[in-house]
Symmetry: C3
Amino acid sequence: MMRIEARLKELGLVLPAALQTPPGLRLPFTPARVRGNRVYLSGAIAIEADGRPSQVLGKVGNEVTVEQGYESARKIALGHIAALQRALGDLDRVTAWLRVHAMINAAPGFNNTPAVANGYSDLIIQLWGDDAGAHARSAVGMAVLPLNAPVEIEAEVEIDA
Amino acid sequence: MMRIEARLKELGLVLPAALQTPPGLRLPFTPARVRGNRVYLSGAIAIEADGRPSQVLGKVGNEVTVEQGYESARKIALGHIAALQRALGDLDRVTAWLRVHAMINAAPGFNNTPAVANGYSDLIIQLWGDDAGAHARSAVGMAVLPLNAPVEIEAEVEIDA
Amino acid sequence: MMRIEARLKELGLVLPAALQTPPGLRLPFTPARVRGNRVYLSGAIAIEADGRPSQVLGKVGNEVTVEQGYESARKIALGHIAALQRALGDLDRVTAWLRVHAMINAAPGFNNTPAVANGYSDLIIQLWGDDAGAHARSAVGMAVLPLNAPVEIEAEVEIDA
């Protein structure tokens, strides 16, 4: 069995299905753009196992707690990993995480955006380890996010091409 | 005639002049940073054919409709393509679109940011096709944008180096 | 002596220590992710010589003036350069600046975000010159930033690998 897939199983994690695009939304872009030794991962929101957008919605610091925001970021990581698996076949082809840009739907005055983004970073490092999983990151507060999601994250990884 | 230039002509599209920087603004960066097999396109706002910033200004969801936002995003695509042409000479050198980061000046509560960013994605795919034109994308809501523009977009493309 | 280090000395500039993470904050990512011929620089806020976050805090256009915002952006550039030096040993290995994404904690109605980001761009160009220092850039207004910082900037550079 492949290393990352085995690690996911060990941790009891199941990758979600692809996003079920809500009615009325048209998304003419690709979740994982593969090119040469790079994959560019589109800005994604948290989805459930069946691909439906999470119903935890709103601004972190208002309707959404930091803990829920952390969990959303973790679900986004799982969704990104699922997109990588569909695009690459084998997650061991991801040789290095490079850049993570975490965007938090932040209530006025809420600025603990790093604590939210940690849900993404922690899972990546847990799965890929301190070397391949290391990444540059920003975690910043947005005015609004699509569907009123609390978190949206985009990322870039290196692959074995 | 080159393929993308021919397609632009077919569609009756004319590329705009370079941005006429408004008085008082100093922009010490390059619209299209070419290096190796990459071009990094600076965050751009919508401009008219003569390079003047579009006079459609304000927040999408307030003063600016979704349709006007879509049109702004489309004009930004044309401006980016014009910047690529000035930097590369030949648009057929763009072998793949990679990453599009669309930033929407969003009114509180307006979260249909993808519908706005589609103005950019649709034109890129119309011109480059489903393969070379495919791209990862984020479309998120900002608190403010330069000059009170409704949309600003940055992007990254692969070129034949 | 190396070229960029000599230039820093000429200009009387001292690189700051690494960020002293404030109590209660956990940042499980790397300030400078080096991989192949790229370094991805994490979103950083302004720090003082000893690595403590600058005490100039708040929204540009309210508590923070454009001039203070410019100075914050310049300090972020120094912090990024310090991170590059720690990661690479020798700053002359940075052969080209590529992309700068400047995020401004903007008061409602404040949209002169480029004037703030110029503090970063001006220093990079002063040190690396018009060719290697040229970069694509966005300068946009955020709802909130970590620690209520007025500016956060992430960047990407090319290195001699």
